[in-house]
């Protein structure tokens, strides 16, 4: 099969594009935090002991540093991603929800294979119980590159996560590679 033909003209429109702010459908709730820290198997008392958390630098129960990237789950009235399994038994179940674009229009490309090229993250503050997370993403770099196995599309998605009050939580720079 011939490799896909992708040109600079196909990708230029994405470069520097900024997505609309994406608002988490819910506040961080104590039970959500409980299930989350169970899943990452982090028994840190600051995630469940209210008295300890209040006397710590966080001043309240707060989520693990990287929690905000998982705060954007299906809204109560959101489409059911598992519906697709009725129409297509081979569907992967993701419903196109990949947790990478955070409000940006996904890159449309003829490349078929998508790889995670790595992350670089800066942390400033943890999301506290009762707070809501807002993400704003931009395509920081969108470039074609010649590799040993042919042309690749390299995309850096830079996403800032803030509280609704605008306080910076973290910045996540994720490199995506299409081949």
């Amino acid at each position: 099969m011939d490799p896909p033909q992708v040109t600079e003209a196909d990708i230029a429109k994405y470069r520097g594009m900024v997505g609309a702010p994406l608002v988490a459908p819910t506040l961080l709730e104590p039970d959500t935090l409980r299930r989350f820290v169970h899943a990452i198997m982090d028994g840190d008392a600051l995630y469940h002991d209210v008295a300890k958390a209040k006397s710590s630098k966080f001043g309240a129960l707060a989520a693990p540093p990287l929690y905000p990237v998982h705060a954007f789950r299906r809204a109560p009235d959101g489409a059911d991603p598992l519906e697709m399994l009725h129409a297509d038994p081979d569907a992967d179940g993701s419903g196109g929800s990949d947790g990478m674009f955070f409000g940006l229009p996904p890159i449309e490309t003829a490349f078929k294979r998508l790889l995670n090229g790595g992350n670089e993250i800066e942390f400033y503050r943890n999301l506290a119980v009762g707070e809501r997370c807002v993400a704003r993403a931009r395509y920081a770099n969108v470039n074609l590159k010649q590799g040993k196995s042919g042309t690749m599309l390299l995309v850096d998605v830079e996403t800032e996560f803030r509280t609704e009050a605008g306080e910076l939580l973290l910045i996540n720079r994720q490199t995506l590679i299409w081949r």
Partner: protein, 169 residues
């Protein structure tokens, strides 16, 4: 004022600052993560789909979960008076159900800027055979002995601009 548990003065180049162990990771552990973050991709819990449709050796441990193991490793290595400021990592290989995950953080550089200590750590996750699945670097902030506490929320300053994560190995 309480005495910090770990200061930049206590840290030496080459020091193993911390380790973390998770596992054996079973399909149930992976499913618990997928449910917690509502990631319904079938490669993480549907064995016939993962092995038959996607030709994987078993259901896949989520890369997103491994990110949190690295963050927990650095957070706990720095202790309650430190702050994980930056981390970068790349995935080197997949991990699947039945694997054990061990993380380790080693000091590769340290410096003091504007009264705060900055420690650079090489971080990695390995499986039960010692194969590296995820690798990168982190920069943690620690107090200096007798110096001010690390501010929370952490605040970027122009004085810190020269403190950068190393290039990938």
């Amino acid at each position: 004022m309480s005495v910090p548990k770990l200061c930049i003065d206590d840290v030496t180049i080459g020091q193993k600052l911390g380790t973390i162990d998770k596992g054996v990771m079973t399909t149930s552990h992976i499913m618990r993560w997928s449910a917690a973050v509502e990631n319904w991709h079938r490669i993480h819990y549907d064995h016939p789909f993962a092995t038959g449709h996607d030709k994987l050796p078993n259901v896949l441990i989520n890369g997103s979960w491994k990110q949190h193991v690295l963050v927990q490793l650095v957070k706990d290595s720095l202790g309650p008076d430190g702050w994980l400021w930056k981390i970068k990592f790349r995935y080197k290989k997949m991990d699947v159900a039945g694997d054990t995950i061990r993380g380790a953080a080693e000091v590769v550089a340290k410096e003091t800027v504007d009264g705060l200590g900055f420690v650079t750590l090489r971080v990695a996750l390995t499986d039960q055979n010692g194969a590296v699945s995820t690798a990168g670097y982190a920069i943690g902030v620690l107090p200096t002995r007798g110096g001010p506490p690390v501010p929370y929320p952490f605040v970027r300053k122009s004085e810190y601009d020269a403190i950068r994560l190393p290039a990938d190995d």
